[in-house]
């Protein structure tokens, strides 16, 4: 059931099923999520697999929770009260969490998107790129996927996706204190590594779906042998050789469609 929880939803970007203690933050409902492993809603967008591949399961889930107009308990299906984020309360109660704070600040930018414009949101998302912190890596891939889903197009997100391409093979490190589950630290780190990798790869696949870009439909096709051996280093080194080809084809697509760094509009400030 954890795959249908807020932990596995791109709307709660900084936590996964294998790491991220404490409360989460749902960007869809603008709410602090107290028990991210046991809550859900009808808008679930899974991190671990691309939307179009798990469409059947998520549609069934959405139908199950269609009667709930808010975040809900995964088992009882009862609605959970939304809880607005308060930075003052977080400090006053000694519960300030930098990750949760970052997401709540993103949501405020999100709420003011009509005045900030999509470019403003995209800039905010880019602030998460370039970190080897697993939480920020998961957040970046999740935010891009959410953005792409909302835009329902590839043109507004191809630059964000190019950064996923650049980072796909980067190791994402999760502090031991943030790791969930049982087993050795090594096993739990490995599980977190797979989770970040698959969130990124699923982002590329969702982009491929929007852009009808064949090369990214199955980005793992050359590394199934390494995955069968659970050889993350082998996966990374093989994918590293494909990165330039993925990058070139995305840029070629953008150029062919006249979307490659088009002249700025008067309101964009560029």
């Amino acid at each position: 059931m954890d795959l249908f929880s807020c932990r596995n939803c791109v709307q709660n970007p900084m936590q996964g099923t294998t790491f991220g203690h404490g409360h989460g933050y749902c960007l869809h409902w603008g709410s602090v999520i107290r028990e991210p492993g046991t809550t859900t809603c009808k808008y679930l967008h899974r991190k671990d697999l691309p939307n179009h591949i798990v469409d059947e399961g998520t549609r069934e889930h959405a139908a199950q929770f269609a009667h709930v107009a808010g975040p809900a308990d995964l088992i009882t299906e009862k609605q959970i009260l939304r809880k607005r984020y308060s930075e003052k309360y977080a400090w006053d109660s000694h519960h300030f969490d930098p990750s949760l704070h970052a997401m709540a600040m993103y949501h405020r930018a999100d709420e003011s998107a009509e005045t900030a414009g999509n470019e403003g949101k995209a800039r905010f998302i880019q602030a998460f790129v370039g970190s080897n912190d697993g939480r920020r890596a998961l957040a970046y891939a999740s935010l891009v996927r959410r953005y792409m889903h909302h835009c329902d197009s590839w043109t507004s997100s191809y630059r964000l996706v190019l950064a996923i391409v650049e980072e796909t093979v980067s190791e994402a490190v999760v502090p031991v204190a943030e790791l969930l589950g049982a087993g050795s630290e090594e096993d739990r780190r490995a599980a977190a590594g797979w989770e970040v990798l698959y969130c990124r790869i699923s982002g590329l696949q969702e982009f491929a779906w929007h852009a009808s870009l064949e090369v990214l439909r199955h980005p793992l096709s050359s590394v199934y042998g390494s995955i069968a051996d659970m050889d993350m280093n082998g996966v990374r080194s093989s994918l590293a050789t494909l990165k330039s080809s993925w990058r070139d084809q995305i840029i070629a697509k953008a150029k062919a469609e006249g979307e490659y760094f088009p002249p700025p509009s008067p309101s964009s400030g560029e």
Binding site: M1, I53, G57, I75, M230
Partner: protein
């Protein structure tokens, strides 16, 4: 034979969906939904501690005696590895996600051979299956 455990609701073990046609990998990642024809169990109760309030233990001899198929953890991992090597592209995608998950949770499966016959309507299959599988689990 090592013990096999399941975490589930306090009152009951979730029934299988006998109408489902998921593969092992599709079941593990819940590609087609939450309920499939299989029931997941684990060699290690600690690795599934977040999956429900109640720990249940599978009564393995009864499973065998009644003709159901138990897929051991090793056999499950082997099957997922084989799918990664020889399945179609979509099957490989799913198996790639399923393998680390199955290993981390030390997962095994029960493939139920329940025959509802023609007297059970499709809409009643889940509740019928619930009454059947409960006997194969005791509180752990």
């Amino acid at each position: 034979m090592p013990d096999l455990f399941r975490r589930d609701q306090e009152s009951d073990v979730s029934p299988p969906n006998l109408a489902d046609t998921s593969s092992f990998a599709e079941h593990i990642v819940h590609r087609r939904g939450k309920r499939t024809r299989f029931t997941s169990v684990s060699l290690d109760p600690m690795s599934i501690r977040d999956f429900g309030d109640r720990l249940w233990k599978l009564v393995q001899p009864r499973v065998w005696d009644d003709g159901h198929v138990q897929v051991s953890h090793d056999d499950l991992v082997k099957a997922l590895r084989a799918e990664l090597q020889s399945g179609d592209e979509d099957a490989k995608e799913i198996a790639a996600r399923a393998l680390p998950r199955a290993i981390a949770r030390r997962e095994a499966l029960v493939d139920w051979r329940l025959n509802p016959g023609s007297s059970v309507e499709r809409k009643d299959l889940l509740s019928w299956a619930l009454t059947k599988v409960r006997q194969y689990f005791v509180k752990g």
